[in-house]
Symmetry: C2
Subunit: 108 residues, 2 copies
Amino acid sequence: MSARTRSLTHTDPAEVSLQDALDAVSDPVRRTILRELAAGPDWARACGTFDLPVTKATRSHHFAVLRAAGLVEQRDEGPRRLNRLRRPEFDQRFPGLLDLILADPTAD
Amino acid sequence: MSARTRSLTHTDPAEVSLQDALDAVSDPVRRTILRELAAGPDWARACGTFDLPVTKATRSHHFAVLRAAGLVEQRDEGPRRLNRLRRPEFDQRFPGLLDLILADPTAD
DNA sequence: TACAGTGTTCGACAGTCATCGACCATATCA
DNA sequence: TGATATGGTCGATGACTGTCGAACACTGTA
């Protein structure tokens, strides 16, 4: 594990409050990230590969929120930062919530 | 049905967007209202009987949000406005969401 | 070393919203 | 009719946060 990866602050989904979880999934940009992550295999997408209507600064902010909410795990692979949706862990903490987010057809 | 009750603007839960639903349940005061409502029978609680740390102006605002999100139905009974949690309808639109809100032990 | 690509951090800004006091509307009762 | 109780509306305010540009940091490669 690289020094950059080691410095990443992750939150265990088991310790995430309902408030933080709801705040995290309440943003449409973050829900887009979650849906795109769920559509592919783990560790397949770098942060920059998501189709988002915001700059990279805002993008970075959203990934930090998702990490803090226990929704996303990140790992560095060279210059890229790969992502994984923490689906089983998060499902155990908040059963059904992720299903609702991913099932909804509306983009916003 | 009184004129006051008739003028109340309700939203059919079937037409509520995921965004509006999440925004509604993201507020701790509104979640307290939902939990207290779920703890008793329908039409048993007037707006003023809830234990909330806000003034009645803010209280009225929160009930309007809950109505617009299809979570609460209201009816006038004399000077009081009685409430009902629209649990079956909302559950059909967003399965599991209300369960998560009501099950969480944290007050905030 | 130099450079290009990826992502973060910082400061600033703007829009949203929860909150409040004050005032108003309605219903019931003396 | 007045008095009281319940609840809504209005305008203002403060805090939060999503957003951005600019500067910085790290990795891999020429």
